[in-house]
Amino acid sequence: MRQILSRSTNGPIGMIAALLALIIVFSLLNPRFGSVENLQNVLFQVSVPLIIVVGTSLVIQMGSIDLSVEGVMGAAGMAWILLSPNTRLETDIGVWAWVVALGIGLGFGLLTGAIYAKLKVPSFVVSLGTWYVGLGVAILLYGNSLLPSLTSETLARWPTRLTLGLPNSFWLAAVVLMVGVLISHYTRFGRGLMAIGNNEPIARSNGMPVDRYKIAAFSVAGTLCGLAGILATMQLGSGSPDIGFGQLFVVIPAAVIGGTALSGGEGGVLRSALGVFLLIILNNGLVLAGVDPDFQSGVFGTILLIAVIAVAWPQRGRLKVAK
């Protein structure tokens, strides 16, 4: 644990302080903010982006980026609901639906990673492409017949049901987060991603399997997007190609606010997770504070800009290059 904390350059203390400040301010603005129901609601909302941000962080730590999140979520979510008990098709294959949906996520991750690592195309463009391929697959699966809704009460209720006072969605996200932290700090693969992000030529000349690590990182990210797609679909109770809408706008800023530099080599999974909490609580608090829904996007964006500027402030300098 000390390894994790000591490695953070400017420490997560500032973020935790910001988080606490937000909670206090919102509690004062609306007492309902601090209620048990609302906290459970926040944990429910935070679980999908938490799962995604683990993969996003691993990818950004090696200096790449994965924009395909929403498309992969759509494809995996649609595949999952059509293979689970639903109102449209009699194709319930039980637990195998999970395997297929996660496999679709893995497949997209492998595809992005392989094109990026082997054909040396920037990951920005590759993942932009796989985003829309994923979206295309989801739209085809959606077709224009009956809306597929979950018919199994057990499945539909699972995400909101409480275990030890916390929603199941959050427990799932917490497990993923734990595994993510273990991967990034206690495996050679995780440390290798940091090394690649810092200086890829040196990583190569040390005999590190750079291409394999890159493909693996995107595969993890893809699989987690698949999982996030399943969870989001379950939370909604019906299938939609747009199930991931807006998630990219949460996870990438969350990673940046958490100190994961887009140039790679800095930051960590846990700190990105704090970033997710910050953004979701902000969103939740704005709603409860009674900000007009028409203003919410604008206010959210403005606060995000302020947060990002605050994060970059200590590193500014006349010759610093930002791209």
């Binding site: 390894q3 000591s6 490695r7 700090h185 206690y186 495996t187 050679r188 693969f189 995780g190 440390r191 940091m194 090394a195 992000g197 810092n198 200086n199 040196i202 990583a203 000349s205 040390n206 005999g207 590190m208 080599g265 800095e266 300098g317 006349r318 010759l319």
Partner: protein, 509 residues
């Protein structure tokens, strides 16, 4: 030498050609256990190629190499590493965002225990790193981030990595240090020297350097290369600088005694700094530089002189104090304004700040001043090329091709182009140079120094951060010594002609 112990390294008639050029030509040599060997020669003499062969990066065309009595046929750097050859490359090759222990562990190819299954066994990694650091006598916490270390400490981590070579359990490791002192300051060089003395207890060392004084001080034997051939292999006992110099260059040494400009100070300085401060970096600095005179700033790496120079150029902000150029207060100007006012800055980080590697010589020289090569907003390429060709000829840039991307040139030739870019100014008032001779050989250094002197004669005020104190003593009219961000001494060289290096070092630390 005891015949039962084979030499640590034995080369027999090693050659390597690139096209028609014989970079390494028929080299044979032996290095015994515990010996420290100096290897020197001009840029392009073939040192790098020889090192690459030893490190397993290049393969020789002919000849055999034996390490600890066994024939070595390296196919990769890993082979060399396993045979016991550890290299500290000229460019730092550490991950700055990882810990010392992780960096040392990168080299380790054998993975016992948990690590075999892909786990990062922090306990083992930290323990092993601590053991290696202890073996080479370096007191650093293996859990420190490399990015937080000073240059010399990073150098120690590089050495620790190199020392991890396996060497078959009992063979003697061979540690190659490729110009380790190029980026170090005087006080740090002493730390490195102590380290090399420690290394010889269990390893043999090849020490590559352009600085003959260092080679003579540190090494038992010195090898000199010229045009790919070994021109001298002698014990450092009794050999003189001049003899080594003659082995390095074709003709007899022609170090002319350059009289100092001796030009008296003008009434008004070209540039003056008053009480300049930047929190934690430099404090209350006041000095002036005069037209036609060379002012040197000497100090250790942490003395703040580099940041001071950048602050004057507008590249970093300062908190307090004023900068005055020709009577005008320019305290908070931008780099652009500084350049327009006739300032020039040759940075220490040539590759990342001094030049654009993908650009040709022509385009690099045209980055700042284009003179008559503009019609309104439009460039006149022919004129630019003519200007660039003029500089290439004058500075003898090799290869003499103004269209070739600059990153394909050697460091010395790159530096000539960087210098040309600024000298091309029609009205150069202040020329600031941060370590202009870093990594340059004797010949290029002379060219660069000659250009600095000439600019000076034409009325430019020069502010110099020299690599060595000798350089400052040779060139400067005035020397300012910095220590811990403050000026600690000032010497007017026209008055104090017999200033000793020792005195200045005492003022630095």
């Amino acid at each position: 030498m005891n015949s039962s112990i084979p030499p640590v390294l034995k080369l027999t008639r090693i050659s390597r050609s690139f096209g028609k050029v014989k970079a390494v030509n028929n080299i044979s040599l032996e290095i015994a256990k515990g010996e420290v060997i100096g290897l020197t020669g001009e840029n392009g003499a073939g040192k790098s190629t020889l090192l690459k062969i030893l490190a397993g990066i290049e393969r020789p065309d002919e000849g055999t190499m034996e390490i600890n009595g066994k024939v070595a046929n390296f196919r990769s750097p890993n082979d060399a590493f396993r045979a016991g050859v550890g290299v500290v490359h000229q460019e730092q090759s550490l991950f700055t965002n990882l810990t010392i222990a992780e960096n040392i562990d990168q080299q380790n190819t054998a993975r016992p225990g948990l690590s075999r299954f892909g786990c990062q066994d922090w306990g083992r990694i930290n323990r092993e790193a601590a053991a290696v650091l202890k073996k080479i006598g370096v007191d650093l916490d293996p859990r420190t981030r490399v990015g937080d270390l000073s240059f010399v400490d990073r150098q120690m981590v590089e050495i620790a990595r190199a020392v991890c070579v396996e060497a078959d359990g009992q063979g003697t490791p061979l540690i190659i240090l490729d110009e380790p002192t190029a980026v170090l300051e005087q006080a740090e060089v002493e730390v490195l020297e102590r380290e090399i003395r420690k290394l010889r207890e269990f390893a043999s060392v090849i020490f590559v350097s352009h600085r003959l004084d260092e080679v003579l001080r540190i090494c038992d034997r010195v090898l000199v290369m010229r045009h790919g051939v070994l021109t001298s292999d002698r014990s450092t006992r009794g050999v003189t600088r001049d003899e080594l110099f003659r082995a390095m260059v074709d003709e007899a040494p022609t170090i002319e005694a350059h009289p100092r400009s001796g030009r008296p100070r003008d009434l008004k300085p070209a540039i003056e700094v008053r009480n300049l401060s930047r929190a934690g970096v430099f404090r209350d600095i006041s000095f002036a530089a005069y037209s036609g005179r060379i002012t040197a700033l000497v100090g250790t790496n942490g003395s703040g002189r580099g940041a001071l120079m950048r602050a004057i150029f507008g590249a970093v902000a300062h908190d307090a104090g004023t900068i005055v150029v020709e009577g005008r207060d320019v305290s908070h100007w931008s780099i652009r304004e500084a350049v327009q006012a006739g300032l020039a800055y040759v940075p220490a980080e040539r590759k990342t700040e001094g030049m654009i590697g993908g650009y040709s010589g022509t385009r690099n020289i045209a980055l700042v001043h284009r003179g008559d090569a503009m019609i309104g907003p439009f460039l006149r390429p022919r004129r630019l090329e003519k200007t660039a060709q003029g500089w290439f000829d004058r500075l003898d840039v090799n290869p003499n091709d103004i269209a070739q991307p600059l990153d394909q040139f050697s460091g010395g030739n790159q530096q000539k182009v960087v210098l040309a870019k600024w000298l091309n100014s029609p009205d150069l008032k202040v020329l600031m140079l941060d370590h202009p001779l870093r990594g340059l050989d004797v010949g290029v250094s002379q060219t660069v120094n000659a250009e600095i002197r000439q600019a000076c004669e034409h009325g430019t005020a020069v502010i110099l951060i020299p690599d060595t104190i000798e350089e400052a003593l040779e060139l400067a009219d005035e020397i300012f010594v910095m220590r811990d961000g403050q000026l600690s001494a000032h010497h007017d060289m026209s008055l104090a002609s017999d200033l000793a290096i020792k005195e200045i070092v005492a003022e630095m630390v």
